[in-house]
């Protein structure tokens, strides 16, 4: 079967990234907001010691509402910009595909009033770069799909600092991965603005496993992992993380994480690489299809992470799994309705 060639344009990619930044800095992902509300109900139902947890969760839920209504950033740490472009088999990509992204980032940060949070060199020159550049861009070739998909995440420093990579001996298996995740939570969760979204990557190589764990954060909260054994493992990990009692804000409670997402991959016979990328309670990302010649709004950042069905294309397994879950996008719309 042949597909029509899609030429990706650097200018269009930069435009979409810039628009996405202004949107996600002030609008909490609808799936994250829905998960906070579920957590609030659970903490309210708890018998004792949940006053602080309830107080934190109501602050976070009201924060989402204020940020969306007043167009104020959800968090003062408006992060580093991570761009992941997944190009399907019909895509033609010029080598300068990200050439205009930094200019779009600088413009979006200045015009939206976001914080400039990057230094020029991590070791030698820690003066502020002044415009939140550079963005950290990745291109993924995805021959299994048709069309291009763009992911944009603003990642805060506190939650990234709580992340880690461990090279386990393969014999440690599931129990070893579980230990790495729980240790990362026990040691660092309170610094990373819980309740957290925990991305876990297992496999590939030392350098690649971190990206795997970051990509795990993109999946919709509440969605079922299409691999039953991994779905079960995710539930076990979430239970173990929440059993730590660290709780919302780190002040104690039942909800240390809203979700644990696991992505696995092949690896060397001698290796079991594990990466844990911590996402904070203000996890900010958007995933959208890059659709040539379509109405700009449909391909733009108004397509929220939970809003997959409108833009569904064949060949993307994660979305087809998520699209079975109806009604999840409704919470986001209801929240925006409060402002009107």
């Amino acid at each position: 079967m042949r597909y029509e060639e899609q030429r990706l344009d650097p200018h269009e990619i930069a435009r979409l990234v810039g628009k996405a930044i202004g949107h996600v800095a002030c609008a909490l992902r609808p799936d994250v907001l829905a998960a906070l509300k579920i957590a609030q109900a659970r903490e309210k139902a708890a018998q004792e010691g949940s006053e602080r947890a309830c107080s934190v969760l109501s602050q976070l839920i009201e924060n989402a509402s204020i940020a969306a209504c007043d167009r104020v950033p959800l968090c003062q740490d408006t992060g580093t910009v991570w761009v992941l472009l997944e190009a399907g088999r019909n895509c033609v990509i010029p080598t300068d595909i990200f050439a205009e992204v930094d200019a779009a980032v600088a413009d979006a940060y200045a015009s939206t009033g976001l914080r400039m949070s990057l230094v020029r060199d991590s070791l030698i020159d820690r003066r502020n770069s002044g415009d939140n550049t550079p963005a950290f861009c990745e291109l993924a070739l995805c021959p299994e799909r048709v069309g291009a998909r763009l992911h944009v995440m603003l990642k805060g420093g506190g939650s990234d600092n709580a992340s880690r990579i461990v090279m386990l001996p393969p014999g440690e298996g599931l129990a070893g991965v579980r230990r790495v995740v729980v240790e990362a939570i026990v040691e660092k969760a309170a610094n990373a603005c819980p309740p957290l979204v925990v991305g876990v990557g297992v496999g590939t190589t030392f350098d690649k496993v971190a990206t795997l764990s970051k990509r795990a954060l993109l999946r919709e909260l509440g969605s079922v992992n299409e691999r039953p054994e991994i779905d079960l493992f995710e539930r076990e990990l979430l239970e173990a993380v929440n059993a730590t009692g660290i709780g919302p804000g780190g002040f104690g409670g039942q909800t240390t994480a809203l979700a644990v997402h696991v992505l696995t991959a092949p690896s060397h016979i001698a290796a079991l690489p594990v990466a844990v990328n911590i996402g904070c309670c203000a996890l900010r990302s958007v995933s959208l299809d890059v659709v040539p010649g379509k109405d700009k709004e449909e391909s733009g950042p108004s397509a929220t992470p939970g809003d997959h069905r409108r833009s569904a294309t064949p060949g993307d397994h994660r979305r087809s799994a998520a699209s079975n879950e109806s009604g999840r996008t409704g919470s986001g719309r209801a929240e925006r309705g409060v402002c009107a």
């Binding site: 602050q59 104020v72 950033p73 408006t78 914080r115 949070s117 309170a190 804000g249 203000a282």
Partner: protein, 183 residues
């Protein structure tokens, strides 16, 4: 255990600090100064040279925060706590020099817990990731020094009913490490 938020006026009176217990929710009123990573290095250099805190900070409160730029019609944009443990290298010295309250998020080093107890001062934790909400409790913002540090510059803020929790009290109780009792 459940109590109404305790009002704390800043700069804080030592007698008021003695009444705070770990886990208490507090409502903060008055003046605080923002200072974070780069500012702490400069503050330590200043103390080394002059043997005192810069900008009359004796008795004052440090808020570990780097706000977003001002939004239209607001004194500032979003503002919230950053991770406090990154300031641990400097905090005992700043507390000895006269800081009485610090505000951030996350646990502190044993040295900071010990210093809070020895000097009868407190560490308060605010909610991270709620900076649009918290900004509503900041009524004014004024740059004081080190403007070259950008968002890390020192600002004087006025708070009104700013919500936080007592994370280390004057008795050395630690909300993040409840099993440890200092002697």
């Amino acid at each position: 255990m459940s109590r109404e938020p305790v009002r704390l006026d800043l700069p804080a009176d030592h007698a008021d600090l003695r009444h705070l217990l770990v886990g208490d929710e507090v409502a903060l009123y008055g003046t605080v100064y923002t200072m974070r990573d780069a500012g702490h290095e400069r503050a330590l250099s200043y103390i080394d040279l002059h043997n005192r805190l810069p900008f009359d900070l004796v008795g004052q409160t440090l808020f570990y925060a780097g706000p977003t730029p001002p939004a239209v019609g607001r004194p500032h944009g979003a503002i919230g706590p950053t991770t406090a443990s990154r300031m641990d290298f400097a905090t005992p010295q700043l507390l000895r020099a006269g800081i009485t309250v610090t505000i951030g998020k996350g646990p502190r080093s044993p040295e900071v817990v010990q210093a809070c107890r020895n000097l009868a001062v407190v560490y308060l934790a605010a909610v991270g990731g709620a900076a649009a909400y918290l900004a509503r409790f900041v009524t004014s913002s004024e740059p004081i020094a080190w403007a070259d540090l950008g968002t890390e510059a020192v600002y004087r803020l006025t708070l009104r009913a700013f919500p936080a929790f007592v994370a280390i009290d004057t008795y050395g109780h630690d909300l993040y490490n409840p099993s440890v009792v200092l002697r």
